[in-house]
């Protein structure tokens, strides 16, 4: 029985990865693989939705850290949406809010990319 699942939605240039369940050192591999696949497809605008994520350990945070530099170098970003308060607390303890953009709503995370896509608008 798996206690972690990822679903993916491609929305024009933006890829949304939705994490479900428990993200720990065991399940982090699956997340890492999904993120690597997205990047391999040259898709660098990524939103990770944590709405259904019940738990995260530092192994899960490590996955975000492993890819962000590469993604930003390619003009993209990994934005984090809808973390529950207890999941957000873990990011906060490790100083992530200074390094990543967090959004309460998926919509606003997606919109944040639109702004950078169409600076003239």
């Amino acid at each position: 029985m798996s206690n972690f699942e990822i679903s993916r939605e491609d929305n024009k240039e933006i890829t949304v990865l939705k994490l479900h369940g428990y993200l720990d050192a065991h399940t982090a591999r699956e997340f890492e693989q999904s993120l690597a696949n997205v990047i391999k497809e040259q898709r660098f605008k990524i939103v990770v939705s944590l709405e259904n994520l019940k738990y995260i350990s530092s192994a899960g945070l490590g996955v975000f850290m492993g890819f962000i530099e590469e993604v930003r170098k390619k003009g993209g970003d990994i934005k984090i949406a809808q973390p529950s308060p207890k999941v957000y607390k873990v990011f906060d303890l490790l100083g992530f809010p200074n390094l990543y953009e967090f959004y309460d709503q998926l919509e606003t995370a997606l919109k944040a990319f639109e702004k950078t896509q169409q600076p003239g608008k």
Binding site: Y22, D24, S57, S58, E69, L94
Partner: protein, 152 residues
């Protein structure tokens, strides 16, 4: 030399869990610890902190303690000692141990630049628990000892 242990305050209860040091067991470990913490009356936030701290200590054992060892049985031993005023959790292994003094607070910006992803566990444990100490006897028994105070 045998060590005398003080028994001024008796343990009210003792729980042990020994299991293979494999990441698929992290889920089992968290269940075990959080059920006990819940029974002891810790609130949801404290339960989550305890669960996460123990997960991090066990993840370190799984990732690092036995990495150069193909011989011995790779086991994690978790002990919970319930005292009047606190819960003591010991995560022990027989692996290579580490030097706790050599572990610094992570510089996150530098980590990200390098794509580095480990080394956060101990830092988290220290921020989640009231007290953290270490006892290292490589190949014999290495312990991470964590204390969470009980309100009362």
């Amino acid at each position: 030399m045998p060590r005398k242990t003080k028994t001024t305050k008796k343990s009210r209860a003792l729980y042990r869990l020994n299991l293979p040091a494999h990441s698929e067991n992290l889920h089992v470990i968290r269940k075990f610890v959080s059920e006990i913490a819940s029974n002891l009356g810790f609130d949801e936030e404290a339960m989550y902190q305890i669960e996460l701290a123990v997960d991090e200590a066990c993840t370190n054992v799984i990732k690092h303690a036995y990495r150069n060892d193909q011989q011995s049985e790779k086991i994690i031993k978790i002990t919970l000692k319930v005292k009047e005023d606190r819960l003591i959790i010991i995560v022990a292994d027989k692996g290579c141990g580490f030097n706790p003094a050599a572990i610094k607070s992570p510089d996150m910006e530098k980590y990200i630049k390098k794509g580095k992803r480990g080394g956060l566990g101990l830092h988290l444990i220290k921020s989640l628990m009231d007290e953290v100490s270490f006892r290292m006897k490589p190949g014999v028994r290495n312990e991470v000892i964590m204390v969470k105070k009980r309100k009362g």
